[in-house]
Structure formats: C-alpha cells, structure tokens
Symmetry: C2
Subunit: 466 residues, 2 copies
C-alpha cells in the first residue's frame, strides 16, 4: 500500500526551490555539504542527501513547508540532532529535510505540575540544565545528544527507563503538523485522560512518518534527595544479569542498571584513564531516594550481588564521581569506535522479557564469537534491553555483510524469545524486515492503513518503518 | 465521515440470526430481558437493546462473529461486565452484542517477568486473587467490578494510578480482532519497544470502536513489603488537595490519595456503621514500601497535613482495617445512590493539571451549590481527577436536564483549566461534544480518519466517541 503511494513521489523542482527561497532566504540550503550532513545519522548507511534543507524557526513554518511538499508530492523528512542509528534520515527519494534544531526554546516549566513544554529542537541536556534550578529533571536518557523531538520520534528510552519509563510514559501532549500542513494538538497537561484515541502515543515512535512534532509537553520528576552509584564486577554476563533481575524481583526501585562486557570496559579504559576499571563483566548501578531508603537499597543490592559472586564493589556518592561514571557509560559508543582506527559502528538493539535476558545476551555473545572484527555488548538490562556494537571497517564489504548477518541472528534470537527487534533505536530503514517478522503481517498492514489514512500521498519520511 | 458510514448500517436479519444460532446454539440470545441488560451499563441512559447477544468463548468465535457482522454491515458491540458509565453499550443502531464474560481464563502468570496474560473477560478481582499466592498484584483499580477487556477499552485507572499508572502504562500486549475479523497481535512481553506504531496504546481507550480485545498481557507489581493507610479530615477541599499536592511535590511516593466530600462521608456512614467517620472533607491515603521507608513516608505526610489543618488522624496498618477503608471507598458510588430511594446517578469525571485541582473542585462545588438534588464529590486527587455524583430522580425530566447542564458547566471548567473531559470513564455516547471542545476539530478528524481506515463500514460500536 505504502510502496504503491511512494512511487508517485517527486523530486524537489526548481520552482519549489524558488518558493522556499522566497520564504526562508538564507535558511534554505542546497549546498552539497549541508545536504549530505542531513542525509545521514549515526547509521552505517552511506548518506542519501535530500534535495534541500530548510532551517525552520516556528510551527507555522513547518505547516507552510508541509503544505508545499504535500501539494508537490515531495518527501519531507524531519531532522533534529542527526543522532539516529537506523537510517531514519536517509532521503531515499530526495525531498526537503526540515531541520528543527533552531526551534530550541523552552516554552515553559510548571514546577507545580512537574511539566515542561519545549520546542522540538531542545536537547535533553539543555532542558535539564534549566530544570536543575527548580529541583526537577527529565529522566529519559538515551546515550546520544538528542533533541526531544527526535526522542519522541523514536520512542527513545535509555539508562533511567527501568525506574522512570521511556518517552512512551513521559510525553503528555504534542503539537504535530500532519502531512497536509494541519496543526494538531494531542493530549493535555492532565496526567491522564480517557478522551478518545491516544494520538499522543500514536505519534510517539512514528519516526516522522505520520506528522512532524514541533512542541512537546513532558512529565518531570523531582531531583532525588540522595543518589548513590555502584560499580560491581562479575565472573560472567549471567551473574550480572541475574543480580539485576533478582534485585527487581525483590522490589528494589533501581534507577539505573547498566551491563558492560569486558570488551566495553577495555574500550572505556583505553579512552580514559580516570576510572581505571577492572576489565571484567561489570554493572554500573544507581539508586535514588531519601538517605534512609538509599541505605536500605544499597545494602540489599550488595547482598544480592554477593550471592552471584559480585566483586570489586565501588560506591560513588559524590556528584562528580557519579558524573564521571555516567559520562563513561554515555561515551561507551564512541570509546568502542575509537578502539579501531577509521572504523564505523553497526549497532543492534534488542529487548526481551527480563526472564529471557541472560539467554539472550549469552546467545548474542555466542553468535558474536564468530565475528572477524571487534565487538562489544552493553545495555539497559533492567529493561531487558541491550546493544551489540560491531566495529567494522567501512571500506570492507565483507565486514558489512558479515555484520548484517550477525545482526540478523541476534534479532531473530530476541524475537524467538518473545522480545522485540528494537528496544529504543527504532525501525528506520534498517529493520523493516524485522518489524514484519516480529509483529506479523496483520499488524503491519494495520500500521500501513493508519499511515495511508494520515498521509495519503506518502510524503512523510518515505521508506521508513515499512 | 463516521456519520456518513453509519447510515449504511443494517439491523440483524432473520437469516443472520439463523446463522448465529447454528454456530452458538444456546449461547445466542434474542430474549428481551437479556438484550435489555446488554444495552445499558451503569449510565443514566435508557437501555437501547441490541438485536441479539452472543456469549463467545474464544478469540476464533469473535473473529467469526465480526466477519459476519462486517459482511452484513451490522453493528457489533463488545460487552464485559456492563459497568461503563457513559453509554458505551447503547445499541443505538441495533446489532450484535458480543458478551466476553465467559472468556474468563487466566492464560498464564510469569512471576519472573511480572506479567500475566488473561482473556478479556477476567475481572481484576479474579486476577488479583490468583496473583496473591505469587506475592504479586495488578494495580489498576477502578471502582467497578470491571473486566480487564473493558478496562482496556476505557483506558481505566482508579485509586492506585498516582503510583502505578493507568491501563495506558500497564498493558504490554493485546490480541485484538478488527472489524473484518482479522486477528492482530500488538506488542510483546518485553517492557519496551521502538518497533513501529504503538498499536497497543491505540486500542487502549478506543472503546470497542477499532477492534475487540480478546486477550491482554499486563504488567504486574510485587506486593509491597508493608502498607499503611491513613484517614485525615480537613476544614475544606482546598486544604485536603493542597496536602496531597505538597506531598507529591516533596517526592512522597503516595500509593493512593482519595478525597471525599462531607456528603460522601455522610453517605458512607449511613450505609455502614463500621467506620463511623467524622463528617468532614476527608482524605483516605495509602503508602507502600519497606517498613523503614513507610515510616519516613507517613511521618512526612503527617507533618504536611498538620500544616494544612489536618485533624482526626487514624492509621490503618492491619490488612482488615485497610480492606474496610477501601471497601467503603469503592462502594461510595452505591452509598451515594442509596442516600436517595429509587434514585439514579449521573456521574461526571474530569481531570486537570494538579496545580489547578483546588480551583477545579472549588468551582465544581460552587456550580453544584445550585443543584436541586443531592450530590457528592470524590476522587483520585493525586492524579487531578475527581467525580461529581448527581443523585437524581430517574422519573424527573427536569432533574435530568438540570444534571446535564451542571455536568456541562463542570466539564467546561475543567477544559478551561487545561484539563480533560474524562479522566477515566471515557467518551462513550455521552461526552462526544465535549471531546470536540477539548481536542479540537483537527484532532477529532484525525481520530475519525483512523476509525475509517480500520473499520471502513463503521460496524464497531457505532455512535461512540464521535
């Protein structure tokens, strides 16, 4: 259905460029370097540049651009920080890239309601820098320096999700522009509602294929009274995973629980001597609460970890110690890339029911044992979610092909264990076949019917998800 | 769009009855008493009975019935426990009522993953009775003795939502039969996913208009190590509301926070002498945690309540004391009804951002001061959600009309304060105009496009939501 529509799409014509230039002046670019930078994310695909890039500054401008694109049957692709991993930004059929990074205004923070409204181009770091003064924070924490609009689009999650939820749970309301340039408001600032279809959740995770998000109202949380982080090493992945699962089953409200394999730790150590971690399978954990509850939590965790052979306990209570730890975790991706000169990363991202996680990680590590290039495993194991990073030579077709085969085996394993082909990176261009295997034809057809109903000409981010 | 489609709907023909009788035998009923019981909920509307009722026992049977209804352009209305409040069950254009209450099998509990899969006709009470043995519970707790399928359909919430979320947050996966009889699986047992559109959340709250849910996979929680409930009285609603808001802003993880007005307490006392509550604006609260954290929580709450003039503190730590309290709260609806012989209730249900709640309750109480019949206010104030119950004489058109006008004023006030026309009861037949006022034409049109894409002949629960 979608494929049929997409055949009728057009490239950006000279006259459309003229119209856009009259509206945007210097904020329209057709320069090759700008187009190329906008036609890739952090994905391993070669850039497929859009025909033009517009740097929008308001919701009204997004409406105007989409009206034009829809009338001309030209693809429209939203761009935030360019950090997506699954080829979401590839302009497979050319078109206009709508860069929202200049829509970076924090519209308002309501400390009484624990809500903030932001334009789509605000990054989570920029928001949290402002919230700190109010004793609040926004918890969703993917590794990338992403915009909140982009995080809506991929239904992002990250290190804190085990405690605070993902973008699915933490978006209250949206302003979205649909394919024909209509502005739609979804949701309200009330924390719950039973009023009609959940359009907010439909747009969250729709990867720019149903509409372009221009404003987001988010749930906030009070900064915890006290926080404590821990580093613990284990004999193997199984012991680390079992420690976290047991802790969750004991009702321990873990705030973060990150597993890092020996290769990941080695890459982190090579990139920074500050932490000097022991090179073994490792957990980075964090606890939030009152000082009293924190002590209870850390004692219980220690007991559980000891039962599974946990060693080298290090506790980081001071803010700068914790920052150093989480900085290392967030830069694990880049540390892995730096471990091989001139390399590129193919990252996969699966999520399984927690009870199948040890099996899933063990299976992935067996699959990766065949690889002819460096690789690392780490992830948000409290959610059942982990990533395998394959550090390949971008010039080697053999390594690319091998990586794709290993990726496929890991994803198949996760689906077979009742899990999903992507916990947080999205389908994009890369995982379309996996979506069909996971969800089945009937569900994918239903998604396509929704796509066609909302975007009849298929102009919004074509060739993604389907 | 929807209205246009609905005009082409047919009533159930004799030949369709014959076909259904051949399939269902005694499990098909056309008896007036059965039809009437299935054409009403707890809503104040007069019953509009369906033409026939089928008591299904499997997902396959739902597929078969929907195929027939779709082919005959006959309405199909799903029925669980019949506890909906907004006219969801009215067979405005006749049709087949599909009663799922015999699909009451708990398919499986996975204690390791904190998940359970149930057929749609299982009630939350039945599920929790089974879970207790595993030290687990399912938290979503509307007042009604509802089925989990019905709770999915209305995006139900209730007393525990402030801590554990609503059906929006606690459904992982569904089996749904769409209008043409196709079985669709949505979601997985993994706790998060970025794989395609969030069909699960689209069906949650769709009130039987997009598909009929036959199986639900739910998130579970460990039974708290310790629980403590509290009853506190206040001078007025404002003091009670401010106590809860301040507690939430202090990071207190309240598990339940129910406000009951003086009239509600009076109705509860009249109905049961067990509690003998002081007849003043009252909070029923509950805390969950470890014994240590519980003590911290209850002490902090006490301090905050005292600052707002809280009195008559009663703590209920023993299970039977807590049960008595929550039983009284859950039966507040019926206690109110019993306060006037032969009466009927029109209940409204709004939800506003928490910072506007005091204003919203105060405004509602001013509006109700004009009423010529008894009325009560209570609700889940940690969520910003409360109900006004209007106890009318069902024979009096004047009281019905007056109640509708007061309802409208309360809902308008909530929408004006940035809230929603329904926190948990749904739109149904009753609140269609309010949905449009709240969400705006563009959002409602989008919902209608989705409806038409998924149910082109408009057979699924016609005249609801739109």
């Amino acid at each position: 259905m979608q494929a049929h529509r997409a055949e009728t799409l057009s490239r950006v014509s000279d006259s459309l460029i003229e119209t856009l230039r009259a509206m945007f002046g210097q904020r329209l670019s057709t320069a090759a370097v700008v187009r190329e930078q906008h036609g890739r994310g952090e994905s391993p695909f070669r850039a497929m540049p859009p025909d033009a890039v517009v740097f929008v500054e308001s919701t009204d401008e997004v409406c105007e651009v989409l009206k034009l694109c829809n009338a001309h049957r030209v693809p429209a692709i939203a761009f935030g920080a360019g950090s997506s991993l699954e080829g979401h930004l590839l302009a497979t059929k050319g078109g206009v890239c709508i860069d929202l990074s200049r829509m970076d205004r924090i519209i308002g923070v309501n400390a009484g309601d624990f809500t903030a409204s932001v334009q789509a181009g605000v990054t989570k770091e920029a928001l949290n820098a402002v919230l700190r003064g109010d004793g609040l924070f926004f918890p969703v924490d993917p590794g990338a320096h992403a915009t909140l609009g982009g995080m809506v689009a991929t239904r992002a999650s990250g290190t804190n999700t085990v405690r605070y939820g993902s973008m699915r749970e933490n978006v209250l309301a949206l302003k979205v522009v649909t394919a024909d340039g209509t502005l739609v408001h979804t949701g309200t600032s009330a924390v719950k509602s039973s009023a009609g279809y959940d359009l907010t959740r439909l747009f969250v995770g729709s990867e720019g294929t149903l509409g372009i998000v221009t404003e987001v109202t988010l749930k906030l949380f009070p900064l915890p009274e006290a926080m404590s982080a821990a580093v613990i090493t284990f004999e193997d992945a199984d012991a680390a995973v079992t420690t976290v699962i047991d802790a969750i089953q004991s009702g321990l409200p873990i705030a973060r629980s990150e597993y890092l394999c020996t290769n990941s730790i080695r890459a982190i150590n090579a990139n920074s001597r500050e932490l000097a971690l022991r090179e073994r399978p490792t957990l980075f954990m964090e606890f939030h609460g009152s000082p009293g509850s924190l002590q209870e939590q850390t004692e219980l965790l220690r007991e559980i970890a000891l039962q599974h052979g946990g060693e080298d306990f290090q506790w980081a209570d001071r803010p700068e110690e914790r920052s150093r730890l989480w900085h290392a975790r967030h830069h694990a991706y880049f540390s892995c890339q730096l471990s091989r000169a001139g390399s590129m990363i193919i990252a996969t991202d699966t999520c399984v029911p927690r009870s199948r996680l040890a099996e899933s990680i063990d299976g992935a590590e067996r699959i990766m044992a065949r690889a002819h290039f460096p690789h690392m495993t780490f992830g948000h194991i409290g959610d059942g979610n982990f990533h395998v990073l394959m550090v390949i030579d971008p010039g080697s077709e053999a390594e690319r092909e091998e990586a794709e085969k290993l990726n496929e085996a890991i994803v198949e394993l996760a689906i077979g264990l009742g899990g999903t082909c992507t916990g947080e990176h999205g389908i994009g261009f890369h995982k379309k076949a996996f979506l069909r295997r996971e969800a089945g034809d009937a569900a994918v057809q239903l998604m396509q019917r929704i796509k066609t109903a909302l975007d009849p000409h298929g102009i919004l981010n074509p060739d993604k998800i389907f």
